[in-house]
C-alpha cells in the first residue's frame, strides 16, 4: 500500500522478520482467514529453527494445510528479503489443492513417484471452467530434480508443473520441504492446484552464449561433479576460460559466468555451485561427460527482468500477482552489481511473491539461474488497482 501500489486482491500475503520462529509464525498466521483459505504457502529463511516453526504452525493453522520450503532468500511485497518468513494464503473461492508428498528421492524411484502422483491426480476432481497447474517444491540438494520433473511431465501431460528447489541461504548444507506442517528432507511436495483465475506460466533468464565452447571430459553425473573440462582439471580450466585466477573463483564469479547447454536454438543454464579443493566443479543441474557446453555471459539485468515480468492477457493488462521462483545465483549477481533496490522495485510493481531457489523447474526441465513464474489474472478482467 506504499507508493500507490496496491497488493494482490485474490491472495493474502504476510511476512515477518521477527527474530524468533514462534513470533514470526504468529505474525503471519494472523493474516490467514482460517475459514476461507484453501491452503497456505510458507517460505522459510534459514536463520529460523524449523522445529519451532513446525510447532508454531501446528498451533496457529490448525485445519489449514501449509506447504512450502526452506529458501535462499524471499521475494516479498517489498521486494528482495533475506530473513523474512513469507506467507501466502490462497482463498478457497479461487483455489483448491491436492498435495502429494514424495519421500526418499535418493535413489530415485520412478514407480514410487508414479504411484503417488497418479493416485492423487485421479482423485482430484476437475471443476468446470477452472485452470489446472502444479507447484513443485524439492529438496534443493537432492540432485534428483531433473529426473523428478521429467517424470512429472510424463505423468501429468495436461498440467503445467512449476517448481523451485528449496534453498539454504548460501550455505548449501541442508534443505527441506514443508508438507502439512512437517519439514522433510530428501523429499518433494507436489501441489495439484485448480484455480478460477486466469493464469500464465513463464520463465526467462538473462544470459547470452559466447563463442567459447567447452567439453566435459570426466564427471560424476550422479553427484553433478565435473572433474575435467577440455581434458584439464575442471576448476582451473574454467578459471582460465572466464579469465580469472583459480583462487578468485567464488559464487559471484559462477553467477556471472554460467555454463550453457544448447538445444535447438535454446540455451539452458547449468549453474556452478562450487569449486572443490581437488579442482572439481559441482553443478546445480544435471551434467554428463562428453557434453559440449557453451560459456555464457550476463545480459543487462534490469530491462530483461522488466520485460520478463510484463504479462498480460486478452482481458487484463497486468496480473493480480505473480508467484516467482528466482535462482539464488541471480540474486547473488544482483547484489554484486548493487541492483537490489531497482530489482526489488520491479518485483514490487509486478506484485511478485516467491523465494530464491537452488534450481527451477518448468516444462519438465530443471534449470539454474532462471526466473520461473506463474502469473494469475482476475477472470473478470478487473484491474487490481
Amino acid at each position: 500500500m506504499r507508493d500507490g501500489i496496491t497488493g494482490p486482491r485474490h491472495v493474502r500475503v504476510a511476512q515477518s522478520c521477527a527474530a524468533y520462529a514462534v513470533d514470526a509464525v504468529a505474525d503471519v498466521a494472523a493474516a490467514v482467514d482460517a475459514g476461507g483459505t484453501a491452503f497456505v504457502l510458507i517460505f522459510v529463511p534459514n536463520r529460523l529453527s524449523l522445529d519451532e516453526i513446525a510447532g508454531a504452525l501446528d498451533a496457529h493453522m490448525r485445519d489449514v494445510p501449509v506447504f512450502g520450503c526452506t529458501s535462499a532468500g524471499q521475494i516479498t511485497p517489498d521486494g528482495y528479503a533475506s530473513d523474512a518468513l513469507l506467507l501466502i494464503a490462497f482463498p478457497s473461492r479461487w483455489f483448491r489443492c491436492a498435495p502429494v508428498l514424495i519421500e526418499g528421492l535418493c535413489p530415485f524411484s520412478f514407480s514410487a513417484v508414479a504411484t503417488a502422483v497418479e493416485a492423487t491426480a485421479s482423485e482430484f476432481q476437475h471443476r468446470k471452467g477452472w485452470n489446472r497447474l502444479a507447484l513443485l517444491f524439492t529438496d534443493g540438494l537432492s540432485k534428483q530434480e531433473d529426473l523428478l520433473v521429467s517424470t512429472l511431465e510424463t505423468l501429468l501431460p495436461e498440467i503445467p508443473v512449476f517448481g523451485g528447489s528449496a534453498g539454504d541461504g548460501l550455505d548449501f548444507a541442508e534443505t527441506f520441504v514443508l508438507c502439512d506442517g512437517r519439514f522433510h528432507t530428501d523429499a518433494a511436495v507436489l501441489l495439484l492446484i485448480e484455480t478460477a483465475l486466469d493464469m500464465q506460466g513463464f520463465s526467462f533468464d538473462h544470459f547470452l552464449p559466447t563463442e567459447q565452447q567447452l567439453i566435459i571430459t570426466r564427471a560424476d553425473p550422479e553427484e553433478r561433479l565435473v572433474f575435467e573440462i577440455n581434458g584439464a582439471p575442471a576448476a582451473r580450466e574454467y578459471a582460465r576460460l572466464v579469465g580469472c585466477p583459480r583462487t578468485a573463483l567464488s559464487p559471484e564469479v559462477f553467477a556471472e559466468n554460467p555454463i550453457l547447454v544448447h538445444h535447438e536454438g535454446s540455451y539452458f543454464v547449468r549453474a556452478v555451485a562450487d569449486a572443490t579443493e581437488d579442482d572439481a566443479l559441482s553443478f546445480m543441474a544435471a551434467i554428463d561427460d562428453g557434453v559440449i557446453m557453451t560459456l555464457g555471459h550476463g545480459e543487462e539485468m534490469i530491462e530483461s527482468l522488466r520485460r520478463g515480468l510484463t504479462r498480460k492477457t486478452a482481458r487484463c493488462d497486468r496480473p493480480d500477482f505473480i508467484l516467482g521462483f528466482d535462482c539464488v545465483l541471480r540474486r547473488l549477481e544482483v547484489e554484486q552489481k548493487q541492483l537490489c533496490r531497482p530489482v526489488s522495485e520491479i518485483f514490487r510493481e509486478a506484485r511478485v511473491l516467491g523465494f530464491n531457489t537452488y534450481g527451477e523447474q518448468h516444462r519438465g526441465v530443471h534449470m539454474n539461474q532462471t526466473f520461473v513464474g506463474v502469473a494469475f489474472f482476475d477472470p473478470e478482467g478487473e484491474d487490481a488497482r
Binding site: 517424470t151 553425473p221 581434458g231 535447438e264 554428463d288 562428453g290
Partner: protein, 746 residues
C-alpha cells in the same frame, strides 16, 4: 575457439585432446541407448519442450490469423450492409441460387411482395413473385427461367437485362449479373426520369421533323407529291401544282391519282398517253422506279419520276424539261445533217478507193505478164545454153584427145587455138546460163549454205593456173581457214570470173593475188591485180552485161563475167566493191557473212589434185544419152587407162550388166537422159541389181541446189558440165578409194 589451453606443454595438450575425444566418444555411444540418468531426463525434457514450443507458436499464429480473419469478415459484413443501405439502386445478392442479402430499396420496389422477399428465396421464386405483383405493368421482354439462363452465362457478364414498368409510369431497369461461380447480383435501377424525358423528346422531335419536311417540300424546285400505300395523295408542293396546272382544290390530301388524271384529261392537260398508264405505275414502282418524259397539255415537256417509299407509298416528282428538250431536238437535227454529209463523203471515198484498187490490179496483172515474159525468156535462154553446152562439151573432149594426138605435129598450134576458141564459147555460154538463172524469179536460183573458202579458192587457183601460165601472169592464193555463208556454185563462179578477168587485164609479168580476211563478223574476199586498171568513169559500167572497160584490149571476152559477179552478190546480199587506178591495178572485194564455228570441209577433188600420175586401172560405166559426149568421154577415159562400158540409158545399163557380168568400179552418169530417165534412177537401178553400193558420179549442167541435195541423199558426187578433166580424174580415184576403204558403204 580455444578448447585446449595453448600455454600447456605439448604432451599435455595431446593428452587433453585424447581425453576430449574419448569423452565425446562415450557421449556419442550413450546417445544411442535408453538413458535414465538425470542428464538424460533433462535432455528428453528440453527436446519435448522444443517441440511443445514449436506447436504453441504455430497455434498462436493460427489463432492470431483466425482472429484477423474474423475481424475482417465482420468488418466486410458491416461495410456491405452500410453500402447496401445507402445505395440508390435495389440490390440483391443470390448465393447458390438463394437470396443471401438485399437492401431495403430492393424489397420495397414492389410493395405488395416486400414481406415475401426473405433470405433463402430462390431466384426463380423472386421472378415468380415479381410477375404476379399488382404493381408490375409490363416488361420489355419475357422472363424465361432466369436461373437456367444464368447457367449458360460466364462469370462477370450480364445474364439478363430488362426494362420493367410499374404502376404510375414508374420504370426500372433490372440487371442480372453473375459475379462468381456461386454469386449472382440482381440490380434494380430506376430509370423513370430517363424514360419520361426520352419520350417527350421523341414527341418533340417528330413534330419538328414534320414541320421541317413540309418546309423542305414546299421550297423544292422540283414538283413533288407523295401518295400513301393505298394510293391516296398525302403531300404536294407549289411547284407540283404549277407544273401540273391543277388547282389546289383538286390536290387535297386523299385524292387518288386516277381522279387527278381524270381532271387533267377533261381540262386538256394531258397530251401523252403515258401519263394515263396509272395501272402500271404501281407495278413498276415495285420494280425499282419509273421515269418517263411526257408532253403536257400546255406545250410543256415534263419528266415524271415515280419512286417507291419505304412504307409502300410512292413519290411523284415532276421536272420541267421544256427548254432542255427543245435544245436537244435542235442538236439532234444538226447531228442528222452532219451524218448525211459524212455519208456522202464516205461514198465518194469508197468510189475512189475502188478505182485505185482496180488500177492496182491491172498493174499487178501487167507485172505478172511482164514477169512471165521475162521468165519464159530466161527459161528459153537457159534451155538454149544447156543445149549448146552439150555439143561443146563433146567437142572439148574430142579436142583434148586431138591435142594429145597432135602432140609434136604441125597441127598442134591450130588444135590449141581451136581448144581456146571452144573454151571461150563455153565460158560465154556458162555466163549466159548463169545470168539467165540469176535473172529468173526462181527462188532456187541461189542457195546460201556454208562454204569453205579455202577449198573454193584452191579450186579456182588450180583451174586458172594454166591460163595464168599461158599469159605469163603470176597467180597467187593466200591460204585461209574461213567459212562463209554463200552459194557455193555461184560464189565459185564469181571468184573464177574475177580471177579470169584479172589475168586477162594484166599484162605479162604482172601479178594476180587471191585472198580473204576477216573483218568482224564478215569475210572480205579480194582479187588484186597489177593490171591496166579501170577508169573512174567505167567503174560502174563494167558490171553491166557486155560492158567492157574502155582500155580493155582485144580478146578479153564478151564482158559477161562481172555481170554474173554483180548479180550473184546482189542475190546473196554480198557487198561487191571495186578500187582501181588506171595503169596501177584493181582490187575487187566481196564481203560475206562469216560462219563462226563451222569446220572447213575438205573438197575431196582438191585433196586428190596431185594424184594424176597414178595408174588409172578402173572399170568405168558411163551412162550418157548424147552419143558425141559419150564417145568423147570414152576416148578420154580410155586414154587414162580405164576400161569403159558406155550405155545411153538405164535399161541399157542393166542389159550391159547382165550380158557382160562385169561389175564396174564406178558409174559416171549424165543426169538428163532421154525421156524421164535420169542418172539418179540409173545408178539406183544398178545398185539394186548388183546389191552393191556402187560409187557414182553424177554429171550435169543443172546447177540447182535441189539436185545437189538429191544426189547427196543417194551418196553420189556431182560434177558440173562441161567436165573439167583435171577434176574428174582425181574425183574418180577418190570415190573408188573410199568405196574400197568401205568408209561410205550404206
Amino acid at each position: 575457439m580455444n578448447l585446449i589451453d595453448p600455454d600447456a606443454p605439448t604432451e599435455e595438450q595431446l593428452a587433453r585432446q585424447d581425453r576430449i575425444i574419448a569423452a565425446l566418444m562415450r557421449r556419442a555411444d550413450r546417445q544411442n541407448k535408453m538413458n535414465l540418468s538425470a542428464y538424460g531426463a533433462f535432455q528428453s525434457a528440453i527436446e519435448l519442450q522444443a517441440q511443445v514450443a514449436a506447436r504453441t507458436r504455430d497455434l498462436e499464429e493460427a489463432a492470431t490469423e483466425l482472429e484477423i480473419v474474423r475481424g475482417d469478415r465482420a468488418r466486410t459484413q458491416r461495410n456491405l450492409h452500410d453500402t447496401l443501405s445507402v445505395m440508390q439502386e435495389g440490390f440483391a445478392l443470390f448465393t447458390d441460387g438463394h437470396l443471401n442479402v438485399c437492401n431495403q430499396l430492393f424489397r420495397t420496389v414492389l410493395p405488395d411482395i416486400a414481406n415475401r422477399i426473405v433470405t433463402g428465396l430462390t431466384l426463380d421464386g423472386y421472378f415468380d413473385l415479381m410477375v404476379r405483383s399488382r404493381h408490375l405493368v409490363s416488361t420489355d421482354h419475357k422472363i424465361h427461367h432466369p436461373a437456367s439462363q444464368l447457367k449458360k452465362t460466364p462469370d462477370n457478364s450480364v445474364a439478363m437485362s430488362l426494362m420493367i414498368e410499374l404502376a404510375g409510369d414508374i420504370w426500372y431497369q433490372l440487371g442480372l449479373q453473375r459475379t462468381s461461380r456461386e454469386n449472382v447480383v440482381l440490380l434494380l435501377t430506376e430509370i423513370t426520369p430517363l424514360v419520361r424525358q426520352n419520350r417527350s423528346e421523341r414527341k418533340t422531335l417528330i413534330d419538328q421533323q414534320a414541320d421541317y419536311l413540309q418546309a423542305v417540300f414546299e421550297t423544292m424546285t422540283a414538283g413533288v407529291c407523295t401518295f400513301s400505300p393505298e394510293g391516296r395523295l398525302m403531300m404536294q408542293n407549289r411547284q407540283f401544282r404549277k407544273l401540273l396546272g391543277v388547282p389546289l382544290a383538286e390536290l387535297q390530301p386523299g385524292t387518288t391519282p386516277e381522279r387527278l388524271l381524270a381532271y387533267m384529261q377533261t381540262h386538256g392537260l394531258v397530251r401523252d398517253d403515258a401519263l394515263l398508264e396509272v395501272a402500271n405505275w404501281q407495278q413498276q414502282i415495285t420494280q425499282g422506279g419509273w421515269l418517263r418524259r411526257v408532253r403536257h397539255g400546255r406545250g410543256r415537256m415534263l419528266d415524271v419520276q415515280v419512286n417507291g417509299l419505304p412504307d409502300g407509298g410512292f413519290l411523284v416528282e415532276l421536272k420541267d424539261v421544256t427548254l432542255e428538250s427543245r435544245a436537244t431536238e435542235m442538236l439532234e437535227n444538226r447531228v442528222l445533217e452532219r451524218t448525211a454529209e459524212l455519208t456522202r463523203a464516205n461514198e465518194r471515198l469508197t468510189e475512189q478507193f475502188e478505182e485505185k484498187a482496180r488500177v492496182e490490179e491491172e498493174l499487178r496483172l501487167a507485172k505478172e505478164r511482164a514477169e512471165a515474159a521475162v521468165s519464159s525468156k530466161t527459161r528459153f535462154l537457159a534451155a538454149a545454153s544447156h543445149d549448146l553446152l552439150q555439143p561443146i562439151n563433146a567437142a572439148k573432149l574430142l579436142i583434148s584427145t586431138l591435142q594429145e594426138a597432135a602432140q609434136g605435129s604441125h597441127l598442134l598450134p591450130m588444135v590449141d587455138r581451136l581448144h581456146r576458141a571452144f573454151t571461150s564459147t563455153e565460158q560465154l555460154l556458162h555466163a549466159l546460163l548463169d545470168i539467165s538463172r540469176l535473172s529468173s524469179a526462181d527462188p532456187d536460183a541461189v542457195t546460201a549454205t556454208e562454204v569453205d573458202l579455202a577449198a573454193l579458192m584452191e579450186g579456182v587457183f588450180a583451174d586458172q593456173l594454166p591460163l595464168s601460165e599461158f599469159r605469163n601472169v603470176r597467180l597467187d592464193v593466200v591460204p585461209c581457214r574461213l567459212v562463209v555463208r554463200s552459194d557455193p556454185v555461184y560464189l565459185q563462179r564469181s571468184v573464177q570470173n574475177l580471177v579470169v578477168n584479172a589475168i586477162q587485164y594484166t599484162e605479162a609479168g604482172g601479178r594476180v593475188l587471191l585472198g580473204a580476211r576477216r573483218r568482224g563478223s564478215t569475210v572480205v574476199l579480194e582479187v588484186r591485180d597489177t593490171g591496166i586498171g579501170i577508169d573512174h568513169a567505167d567503174q560502174k559500167r563494167i558490171f553491166e552485161e557486155f560492158a567492157r572497160a574502155g582500155n580493155a584490149g582485144p580478146g578479153t571476152g564478151m564482158g559477161l563475167g562481172l555481170s554474173v559477179v554483180d548479180r550473184t552478190c546482189r542475190h546473196l546480199g554480198h557487198a561487191l566493191s571495186l578500187r582501181s587506178a588506171p595503169g596501177r591495178g584493181s582490187v575487187f572485194s566481196i564481203e560475206m557473212e562469216r560462219v563462226g564455228n563451222s569446220q572447213a570441209r575438205v573438197d575431196p577433188a582438191t585433196r586428190r589434185q596431185r594424184a594424176a600420175d597414178t595408174p588409172f586401172d578402173h572399170t568405168v560405166l558411163v551412162i550418157e544419152n548424147d552419143a558425141e559426149v559419150l564417145f568423147a568421154t570414152r576416148q578420154r577415159l580410155e586414154r587414162w587407162g580405164a576400161r569403159v562400158l558406155g550405155v545411153p540409158s538405164t535399161p541399157a545399163a542393166r542389159r550391159s550388166l547382165d550380158d557382160t557380168g562385169v561389175v564396174p568400179d564406178i558409174v559416171l552418169a549424165d543426169y538428163h537422159l532421154d525421156g524421164d530417165d535420169t542418172g539418179l534412177a540409173a545408178v539406183a537401178a544398178l545398185r539394186d541389181a548388183t546389191g552393191l553400193h556402187l560409187p557414182a558420179i553424177l554429171i550435169t549442167a543443172d546447177r540447182s541446189e535441189n539436185l545437189r541435195r538429191m544426189a547427196a541423199r543417194e551418196d553420189m558426187m556431182v560434177i558440173s558440165k562441161p567436165v573439167k578433166l583435171s577434176r574428174l580424174r582425181p574425183l574418180i580415184d577418190w570415190a573408188i578409194q573410199m568405196q574400197k576403204g568401205g568408209a561410205r558403204v550404206g
